[in-house]
Each structure stands twice: as C-alpha cells, then as structure tokens.
C-alpha cells in the first residue's frame, strides 16, 4: 500500500523534471560547440568516436541497472529502529561469480574494438598521395610546415579535404599537445622525439583546436585553426603562399615556385589542376614583388627592422628559417586571428597587440617594444599587406 502510493506520485515528479531535462539535453547538443569532439570529420576521429559510443552505451546500460538497483534498495529496505533484525546473510558464492563474470564479458565487448582501434590509429599511412605536415609547438603558438611544399605558416593549418594528412610533430621548448578535435584526438608534442597522427578531412570549413597539455602561463591561449579546404582552394592557397618567398627575389622565385607548385600538385594527386594554378600564380608573384606604394607601408617596413621584429618573425613562407621564436608572419594579414587563435585579427587589435602584447596575453614571450600608436598604425599597414 505504502509502496503503491509512492509509485503513483512518481510520474508527476517526472513530469515536472522532464522539461528541465529536455532543456539540459538541448544544452548538451554538440552542435553548439565548434570545438566538439563528438562530431568527427575524419576517418581517424571516427575510429575513436565509434569506440567511445560503444563504451558510452554500455556505460549507460550499467548505470541504469546499478543505480536502479541502488534506488530500489534505498526505498524498498527502509527500516525502523524497532523492526526485527533482518536475515543475516554473509554472502553468496554463486552471485559473486556472476557479478565478476558479467562485467568481464561487457569489458571484453569494449576491449575487442579497442584493440582493433589502437592498431588502426597507429598504422602510419604512406604513399605519394599523403600530404606531410610538420607541427612544431612553441610557447604559446603553433608553427606549421609543409616540407614537400617548402612552406611555413603559423597558427592556421591549411589542409585539403579528401587527402590523407600525416602530421609529424615536435616541440621547440616544452611539451605541448596538438588537438584538432574535429579531426583527431590529442597527440603530445615533445622537444626530443617525433610523434605522429594522421587523418583525412571530410568537410571543408574553419575548425578551432588548441593545445591540450599544460605548457606554462599562456597555455590557455595557445589555440589554432584548421582551415580544411577543397582540393582546388588548397591548391590556390599553396600557389599563393609560394609567392611569399624571400623578398625581392621575385625573378628567381618565379622559377622555383613553379617547380614547387608542380610538386604540390603531385602531392594532391590532382595533376590536371596544377597547370592553370601554376599559370595563375606568376601574376601573383609579380604582384607580391612590387610593394604597395602606401607611405604607411614603407614606414612600417622600416619599423619592422628598426624595432627588431625581424629578429623573431620571418616574413617569408617559402624556405622560412627554422627555429624562430615568434610566429611566421608571411600571411599574417590574411589570418582570421592573432595571438595564437586568441583574438580577432582586426587592425585595432593588431595595433594594440604590437604596442603592448603583455596587455592582451600576459606572459607572452614578445616584449613590449615601446611602439607608439602612430608607429603601430604603420606596422599594421605593413603587416596587413602580408596576406
């Protein structure tokens, strides 16, 4: 009788809780989270996601059963102080065996796909169609290199959709962890060993990622963007980047760029597309070779040398020097963010950054160089032209 009343009251409580739960469930939806790990967009990420789903469903099943049994016991075996002593049971061997063996079987159901997944994710892809990218972690920004394309950039990783990318990683200082959640789980980045991951992106778009191993003061602002592009867009980007060579070496660059670009086309396995690309980029190279006539640009260029910016930042994407302390700025004008994925790349923010980087990102290794607001404007004009 007592129990039945309880049971009757239960649905009303559930009805009250239900809308709240729905609201909560809506808040859980991965669609609200651009950096979610629950919406994989690559073959590699799907391997982990499938296993995670399998494990999750088993966990939910076990959760419901065990918490249900607990709640049942809590309500069913409520006693009063003067109740007679319950039956004194010390144990039951058969039951012990059952609840040892059943979880073992469930774990086996998780273990089998796990082991398969481990070996699949560890199989490093090889072959001419694989695009190799080098990721170098720095306090607190990311360097991205394309060894076959001889290109270097920072904080925005451009990759082609539909082509397997092999990521080879290292660090310039402490341990970081490279994490583009839509495409792969984390892989730590070490100063003294190479680690690898690989993935084939499925959908073009701009996707956030960030460092996942605590690496010092500004670990919280060591983000990056993955720019997944259609093969054509990626080709165009590569071709454009290859015009950003050593300055004023335009004439010599034109030749080498053409060869490099052809190499890039081989990489993507899209040889037919390479020709028009290579043709189009000669004009781009010429455009880059002649600097804008804007006086602010010229002033900025001087300041870039005078203020010592050039000591830490390279402005060339092609054959960029290795081991620079600051991010490569060859295409900084075109990037969506500055400060390693931290702030929108507007003229105003860039100027603020140049004047006092510590104000925006305390602890960042770039010192305050005593740049005046006017000088900052010139530097912004100069950098903005580097796209």
């Amino acid at each position: 009788m007592h129990l039945r009343i309880r049971a009757l009251r239960l649905p009303r409580r559930v009805a009250f809780v239900l809308p709240l739960l729905l609201l909560f469930a809506a808040g859980c939806s991965p669609e609200h989270y651009p950096q979610t790990g629950l919406r994989p967009l690559s073959d590699y990420a799907r391997i982990g996601d499938d296993i995670q789903n399998t494990t999750f469903y088993w966990a939910v099943g076990v959760f419901v059963l065990v918490e249900g049994a607990l709640l049942y016991a809590i309500f069913r075996f409520r006693g009063k102080p003067d109740d007679p002593e319950p039956r004194q049971i010390h144990g039951n061997t058969a039951i012990e065996i059952i609840w040892t063996v059943v979880p073992a079987l469930i774990l086996a159901a998780i273990a089998v796909p796990t082991v398969r997944g481990i070996f699949e994710t560890n199989a490093i892809p090889k072959g001419p169609e694989v695009l190799t990218v080098e990721v170098v972690g720095h306090q607190w920004w990311w360097e991205f290199r394309y060894p076959d394309l001889k290109l270097t950039t920072a904080n925005e990783l451009h990759i082609p959709v539909g082509q397997t990318v092999l990521v080879r990683m290292g660090s310039g200082d402490v341990i970081h962890s490279f994490w583009p959640p839509r495409f792969a789980g984390k892989r730590d980045v070490f100063p003294n060993r190479e680690t690898r991951m690989w993935f084939k992106a499925e959908k073009a778009g701009e996707y956030p990622g960030q460092c996942a191993e605590f690496c010092g003061i500004e670990h919280g602002r060591m983000a990056f963007r993955v720019m997944a592009q259609t093969p054509d867009e990626f080709q165009a980007w590569v071709a454009h980047m290859q015009t950003l060579g050593p300055k004023r070496a335009a004439a010599a660059a034109t030749d080498s760029v053409r060869t490099a670009s052809a190499g890039a086309a081989v990489q993507t396995g899209k040889t037919p597309a390479a020709k028009p690309q290579a043709g189009g980029q000669d004009t781009a190279a010429a455009a880059q070779a002649a600097p804008p006539s804007d006086p602010a640009y010229a002033a900025g260029e001087k300041l870039f040398m005078a203020k010592g910016c050039v000591g830490c930042h390279s402005l060339q994407a092609v054959d960029a020097p290795k081991g620079m302390i600051g991010p490569n700025l060859a295409n900084v004008g075109a990037r969506t963010t500055i400060g390693a994925g931290s702030f929108k790349n507007t003229d105003e923010t860039l100027a603020r950054w140049i004047q006092n980087p510590q104000l925006l990102k305390q602890g960042v290794l770039m010192p305050n160089l005593g740049v005046t607001p006017d000088e900052a404007k010139s530097l912004v004009a100069f950098l903005r032209a580097h796209k």
Partner: protein, 612 residues
C-alpha cells in the same frame, strides 16, 4: 627534560585525569589526539583548497574573464590539486587511521607512538611549507603533476617549483613514516583472536593503503630527487637539450600517481564498508570478496600507470597492455559496488546521516567508475584526456568517492572521537546541499569536456559554446561550499552541546563501540578477545540485548608511552634542512647544516629518551 616529560605523563596515569593544555597536545603521542590533530589540520587545508577552487570557478564563470591573472590561475589550480590530494584527502584518511585502527583491532596505541607524532608534525610542516609560497608570491604553478621539462630551470626559473618539490618531499617523509607505523600496528597489535580474516574491513582497506604508500612513495621521492638535481646541480635527467627525457618524469610520476589514486580511495571504501552493514543491520555481504577485491585493485594499480599517458604515443603494444589492464580493474571495483548493494539488500536500513553519505558515495562512485572505463580505451581517450571530461571523472571519484566517504566517516565516528553526536537535521541538510552542489558543479563538466573544453586553461573565448554550463558549474560550486558551511555550523553547535554520546550510538559491530565515547587514554582497560568478524554484534546477540554502558575506569597499572617533544624537534630540523637545500644558492651549505644538526639532535634525544 625527558624526565620532566616522563613525570608529567606518569602523573596523569596515576591521577586518572587526562592531561590538558597546549603543551599536552604538542608533546602528545596518543594516537587519538594525533588523529584529531591530523583531522583538524587537514580540514583547514581542505577549506583552503575549497576556497582556491571557488576562485578558479569565479574566473571560469564567464568567458575571457580577467578576475584572475593567468599566473594566479595557474598557481591556484596547482595548489588546489596539490592541497586536496596531499593536504586534505590523504591526511583526513590518516586521521581515521590514527583514531580508528587501534580501536578496531583492540590495541592501546600504534606500534611506534613517537614516530606517529613525528609523522603528524612533518605533515604539518610540509603543508605550511607549501603554503608559505603564497606569502612570497611564488606559489607552485606547474600543476600538481609538475610535468618536465616545464619544471626545468630554463622554463621555470622562479622559486615556485622549488616550493612544490621540497614541500612534496617533506610530505613524503610523513606519509612513509606513517605507513611503516600502521603497517606494523595492524600486523602486530591485533587483539587475541583477531585473525587477518576477522579484521574489520576499514582496517583491511587501510592496511592495503599502507602497502601502497610504502611501495609508491619511494618512486615519487626518487623522481623528485632527480628533478632537484636537474634544477640545482645541473644534471639533465629530464632536460632534452642535455640528452635527458621529459617522458621519464611522466613514467615515474604515474608509477607513483596511479597507486596514489587508490591511496586516496581505499580508506573511503573501508569507511563505507563499515557504515553500510551497521545501518542495514546486516553483516557485510561477501567479506572475503571485499578483502580480495581490495588487494586485487591495489596490485593492478601498479600496472596501469601509462593510461595517464595515452596521448604521448607509446605505440600499439604498450597502449593495448595498459588499456586492457585498466579495464581489468573495473572488475574488482564492480565487485565492491555489487557487494555494497548486497549488504543493503534485504536489510533494515536506518537512515542516519552517515548512511546518507555512504549511499551518496555509491551513487556517485558508480558514475566516476563508468567514466573511468570510458577512458580506458585509448582511441576514445585521445579525445577525452586533458579535457573537462577527465576533470569530471576524477572529481566523481575523489569528491563523489573519497570526500563523501570521509564525510560519512566523520559523522559515523564523531561520537566516538568527541563524545558528541552531530546534529542529524543539519547533517541531512549538509548531505543534500553537498549532493546537489556536487552534481551541479561537476556533471556539466562531462559535457563540456566531450565538447572540446580543455583542462588547465585560465580562460576560454566566447563563441565556443562553453559559457552557459561554466556559469552553472560556478553556481554549483557555491552550493557545494554552502554545504560545508552547514557542516561547520553543525560542528560548532555540537561542540557547544553536552558531551553525552553513548559508547555505542549506532548499534555498531566493531570493537571501537565497546569502549566509552570518547575513549580513555588507554582505549581498552582490558584487552579484548575476539571470536568473530563482528565481535560486538556477537556479544549483543549472546546477551539478547544491548551491552551495558562501559564504565570509565582509573586505568591504574596500564603502561602508556611517555609524551615527547623530540618528534616535533626532529620534524622542525628536517623541514629546516629541506629549506636549506632550497636556498642553497643564497645560504650556501649553512641552512642544510643547521637544519641537519637540529634534526640529528632531535633524533639523538628521541633515541635516548627513557621509554617510561
């Protein structure tokens, strides 16, 4: 000096009055007083760690918040973790080891009472040492895990890492000394008839914990010594530019760190395994299975360390091994949960506050265990690791598990420790606020973690979707904090109330309930003889009713160890010596020599002190 101390205590024993006053606490070697000292100190540190957590939560309550600077945030999360693990959960567990183990096994004290006092003083010094760093504006800031090579001189030139390094070394001494003591106590001082398989389950789990401490702490000690060499004497164990390997630190740290997880949870397992039978009025279901699953968990705990390191890319063979053994641990853990259910099942459950917390423990621990199984699988873990999903997981284990268990133990043993029963109504308020606050704080972290929020970030930008749930978590953290305000008020009210707890307020099964509350200095006027697992229930069954309230006796003729302040002197010397190493570049060898001399002076006098 020593004779004065001797006379003092001898007088107390003859005069039948407990010594009082601060001096009696400073020189105490009584395991019960040391237990209370441990508990009080650790609870203070727990509150500090909680305040640190609230500051972190305020900072994360909104995106791009500037409430805390990145440096302060990093210091706070480092100290929050270090404090909660080494200065709160471990020593609160130690408070129960101290107070309860000798009572449960029918002993008059621990095996080495002065070593016990030494452990406490070293723990206190270590805790103060770590926290003094705040006053110098140099709190540790590289995480409780202190990953190399961020901790090298090159990347952490300040004194912050040194405070952490030497603080942990000092605390390690306390833990090892205590572990030797309780290991010996349990093996050698059990009452006649108390065979190993008749030992109360809390004593069993605590005993296993001591074994873990003995085997795990030497590893972190060595790891820290290597770090000290790197930072102070130019070696390159973890420095890649000198041919060292930062990954070595991770292996050493987690060879210690994973058993450490069981050091933190096994005592709580033991506590709720005591509470569930008493309040279900039914013996523990599957006692042997409980004991052996505990041993099995501890054993496997030494073989799974690299599951903290799946993201380092150890290769498929290592990943497979560590993954499968990690899954294996779920089996004995499941056995424990099922046996707890089996204990309550068919019982006559008495809903007192300790039982609320014990049941809360099971409900929360199940969630923590299941999310643990979820990251046993490396391909899935690569997404989960270092995100808030992991923060959620280990808080469900460390808070939903350990803290719920320890609070359950506090309500359960409070009458025995202080002769006063904590208020039931406030206790239940405490429980509900804590349960709700805990879940509101930590459950959304699962969702945020899986959806891409990394740990240890001092802020997050708007637009990644993290805003709403983080705000909710911050609100939850304050609800959680309020539950401990209720607890503090409960303690205050109870302390003001009469000291009238009976010897056996809960119808207990174990020996500690056979003696007065609080126990007299010598615990047992007569050493009990044990005939079964639940000696007190058996005695009550024989009488067909409750036992008479035990009389407080004079205790004449009972041998007690002398009070001593040499453990304190030795602890001070040890701490000064460590500080001397830390300041070697400022003080030269003099700090080390002075501290070492004080320590040796303490040890010398300790050794030659009359035994009484």
């Amino acid at each position: 000096m020593a004779t004065t101390a001797l006379g003092h205590r001898a007088h107390a024993a003859a005069g039948h009055a407990e010594p009082t006053g601060i001096w009696s606490w400073i020189t105490t070697v009584d395991h019960k007083r040391i237990g209370i000292l441990y508990g009080t100190t650790a609870f203070m540190f727990f509150l500090m760690g909680g305040i640190e957590a609230l500051l972190l939560r305020i900072q994360l309550g909104s995106p791009d918040n500037t409430f805390l600077s990145p440096t302060t945030y990093n210091e706070l999360f480092t100290m929050h973790g270090t404090t909660m693990i080494f200065l709160a959960i471990m020593p609160i567990s130690a408070a129960f080891f101290n107070f309860i183990i000798p009572l449960q096994i029918g002993a008059r004290d621990v095996a080495f009472p002065r070593l016990n006092a030494f452990s406490y003083w070293v723990f206190l010094m270590g805790g103060l040492f770590l926290n003094v760093s705040w006053l110098f504006g140099a709190a540790p800031d590289t995480g409780w895990f202190g990953y190399a090579n961020l901790t090298s001189r090159q990347y952490s030139p300040g004194i912050n890492v040194d405070f952490w390094l030497f603080g942990l070394q000092i605390l390690g001494v306390a833990s090892l000394a205590a572990a030797v003591n309780f290991f010996t106590t349990v093996l050698n001082l059990r009452a006649p008839g108390m065979r190993l398989m008749r030992m109360p389950i809390f004593t069993w789990m605590s005993f296993i914990t001591q074994v873990l401490l003995l085997l795990a702490f030497p590893v972190i000690t060595v790891a820290l010594i290597l770090l000290m060499f790197d930072r102070f004497f130019g070696t390159n164990f973890y420095v890649p530019s000198g041919g060292g390997d930062p990954l070595l630190w991770q292996h050493l740290f987690w060879i210690f760190g994973h058993p450490e997880v069981y050091i933190l949870i096994l005592p709580a397992f033991g506590i709720i395994s005591e509470i569930l039978p008493v309040f279900s009025r039914k013996p523990l279901f599957g006692y042997a299975a409980m004991v052996f699953s505990g041993i099995f968990i501890a054993f496997l705990g030494f073989g799974v360390w690299s599951h903290h390191m799946f993201a380092t890319g150890m290769g498929p063979i290592a990943d497979t091994y560590f993954s499968l053994v990690t899954m294996l641990i779920a089996i004995p853990t499941g056995v424990k949960i099922f046996n707890w259910l089996g204990t309550a099942w068919g019982g006559s459950i008495q809903y007192k506050t300790p039982m609320y917390f014990a049941l809360g423990f099971i409900a929360m621990f199940i969630i923590g265990g299941l999310s643990g199984v979820m990251h046993a699988s490396p391909p899935a873990d690569l997404q989960q690791t270092d995100t808030y999903f992991v923060v959620a997981h280990f808080h469900y284990v460390m808070f939903g598990g350990s803290i719920f268990g320890l609070v359950a133990g506090a309500y359960y043993w409070w009458p025995k420790m202080f002769g006063r029963v904590l208020n039931e109504r406030l206790g239940k308020w405490h429980f509900w606020l804590m349960l709700i606050g805990f879940n509101v704080t930590f459950f959304p972290m699962h969702i945020l973690g899986l959806n891409g929020m990394p740990r240890r970030v001092y802020t997050y930008p708007a637009g990644l979707g993290f805003e709403t749930l983080n705000l909710l978590e911050t609100i939850g953290a304050f609800i959680l904090a309020s539950s401990f305000a209720v607890f503090l008020y409960n303690i205050y009210r109870t302390w003001r109330g009469p000291r009238n707890a009976p010897a056996d307020p809960w119808n207990g099964a174990t020996l500690e309930w056979s003696i007065p509350s609080p126990p007299q200095e010598w615990n047992f006027a007569e050493v009990p003889v044990v005939h079964g697992r639940d000696p007190l229930w058996e005695a009550k069954r024989e009488r067909s009713g409750p036992l008479p309230e035990p009389a407080r006796v004079s205790g004449e003729g009972i041998h007690l160890p002398n009070p001593s302040y040499w453990p304190l002197v030795t602890a001070l010397g040890l701490t000064a010596m460590m500080a001397g190493v830390m300041l070697i570049h400022h003080l030269g060898p003099w700090g080390i020599l002075a501290g070492g001399a004080i320590m040796l002076f303490g040890i010398f006098n300790w050794v030659f002190e009359p035994a009484g």
